[in-house]
């Protein structure tokens, strides 16, 4: 469904990605792991069109989308939960959710009611400013906001970052429902065991290159260690 081919990206003179080849099939859950600065966020920013690329570097259902702007990519059904959550401070919780489905409202499972069923605390807090919530609740809003468009691909950038383990558990508990709704999920994670427990496949990035690509069930601790730190396996 989504494919990157020799995807490169740079910030000015600095090259952040050196030819990433990656695929995501419909309904699949793919984890992307790697140390800080490996290029995970840059990869997601490229896919979503926040960073522009050569058209053919990213294919969505066979169409070249590498050069599309972020709003056009989103309208094709690729939604993003950005790093740091990035709720809109001027919008209430409910408005933050509504705006996620305002431009594209694909058909599917997700509606305001379904988001509130998934994360009941958000219904209670729906009139608060989004930024008045705890970190975990904000993360729920960010996920709900992305789901409101009924995306076929959900990209999540470090949804467990900075959260307490119990909170992370609550958020990950929502993943089976999200996957059951039919969306493919890409999880960028530093929490490797968490990522492996839910993903079908894993890519490991290091310094802008894919150093490991494997099925989650077949991967070994040694292989991850080697890919993560660049030591000979």
């Amino acid at each position: 469904m989504l494919e990157t081919r020799g995807l490169t990206a740079s910030y000015g003179q600095f090259k952040a990605l050196f030819g990433i080849d990656m695929t995501v099939a419909a309904g699949e859950c793919v984890a992307i792991i790697g140390a800080n600065g490996a290029g995970k966020t840059t990869l997601l920013r490229s896919i979503t069109g926040v960073l522009r690329n050569g058209p053919e570097m990213i294919l969505h259902r066979g169409d070249p989308i590498g050069a599309l702007s972020a709003d056009r990519v989103m309208q094709r059904g690729i939604a993003m939960v950005p790093e740091g959550r990035r709720l809109f401070p001027s919008l209430s919780v409910e408005e933050n959710l509504l705006i996620g489905g305002q431009v594209r409202r694909g058909s599917g499972h997700w509606s305001l009611d379904e988001i509130y069923r998934l994360f009941p605390i958000l219904r209670e807090r729906r009139h608060s400013p989004g930024t008045a919530l705890s970190g975990g609740q904000q993360q729920m809003v960010a996920i709900g906001r992305a789901l409101m468009s009924n995306p076929e691909l959900l990209l999540c950038d470090e949804i467990s970052l900075g959260l307490a383990p119990v909170v992370i558990r609550d958020i990950y508990a929502a993943l089976p429902t999200i996957r059951a709704s039919g969306a493919a999920v890409v999880l960028v994670e530093q929490d490797i065991s968490r990522a492996l427990s839910v993903a079908d496949r894993v890519y490991c990035l290091m310094e802008g290159r894919v150093t490991l690509s494997a099925r989650a069930s077949e991967i070994t601790r040694e292989a991850i260690h080697a890919a993560y730190f660049g030591e000979a396996a």
Binding site: G49, S69, D71, M74, V103
Partner: protein, 287 residues
């Protein structure tokens, strides 16, 4: 009694300043763009209304209704094809472009319409007045003030109760994340400037009916608009109305004391508010 009358006239005059300012406030609130050509756009719109009145023989209010869609389109195109290209982290390029636009508009209008002063004839309305019991007010100032209240009320409704308003606020908060919601920030900005030009049309209507205007008066309107926006607090629409009223009252009270003090008193009130409340009376929480 004379003072009550003076204050009421001042508040009503503030309605005109709030109309000058509302479009400026809207655009600044959404895209942090200060449009230095705002006053000249008001004057240009007044000329357009005048042309419609004279060629189609319409009443000024209907003429403004005719001009509004054209001016919306002009604002939309100005943003889409010019201002969007210079918006960025650096605030200087858009300032320079709108300054250039201001100069170009003034000279263009001078070519087309000469330096003669003009007025949009409003018939009996010009001298009509209404007796409110304790004070008597001109119908035109009252209508101006009511229009300002209505414009600001509707803008607030738009901002806080519609999907478009939600997109305005989200884009103003964080344009990149808004684009991840499928919103195109550049078209949001273009709609906002189009909308600002509709408000400019209303401001132009009252400017042209209430006083003489010529191609050179834009910058002075811009100053009043600026002062109203800043007194009110950047981005607060009701604040803009109150800011306008403060300048209006200062001017009428100043004029009551000494006719030569009218303009000066308005600017002094602005400075006093700025000293006491540097961020205006109703600053936004997040900026």
């Amino acid at each position: 009694m004379i003072w009550l009358d003076t204050v009421v006239q001042g508040v009503l005059l503030g309605g005109l300043y709030a109309l000058f300012a509302a479009g400026l406030s809207l655009v600044f609130g959404i895209m942090r763009l200060v449009n230095l050509a705002h006053g000249d756009l008001i004057v240009a719109s007044a000329f357009l209304i005048l042309i419609v009145v004279e060629t189609l023989g319409l009443n000024p209010f209907l003429a403004a209704l005719v001009a509004a869609p054209a001016l919306f389109a002009l604002g939309w195109a100005l943003q889409r094809f010019v201002l969007n290209r210079v918006l960025g982290k650096d605030i200087l390029p858009p300032l320079l472009v709108t300054f250039g636009l201001s100069v170009a508009l003034q000279n263009g209008m001078l070519e087309l319409f000469s330096a003669d002063s003009q007025r949009i004839a409003a018939g009996p309305l010009e001298s009509a007045s209404i007796d409110l019991g304790i004070v008597t007010v001109g119908t035109m100032p009252l209508l101006t003030f009511a229009s300002a209240v209505l414009v600001i009320f509707l803008l607030n409704r738009l901002f806080y109760s519609t999907a478009l308003g939600r997109a305005f606020r989200a884009t103003s908060d964080d344009a990149v994340t808004a684009s991840l919601m499928g919103i195109n920030p550049k078209s949001v900005f273009a709609i906002a400037t189009g909308l600002a030009m509709v408000i400019v049309t209303i401001a132009a209507l009252y400017l042209g009916m209430r006083a003489n205007f010529d191609p050179s008066v834009g910058p002075a309107r811009l100053i009043y608009a600026f002062e109203a926006v800043i007194i009110g607090g950047l981005g607060s629409l009701w604040g803009t109305l109150i800011g306008g009223a403060i300048i209006g009252v200062a001017q009428t009270v100043g004029a009551q004391l000494n006719p030569e003090w009218q303009i000066l008193a308005g600017h002094l009130a602005f400075l006093v508010v700025l000293i006491l409340r540097p961020r205006g009376l109703f600053p936004r929480a997040v900026d």
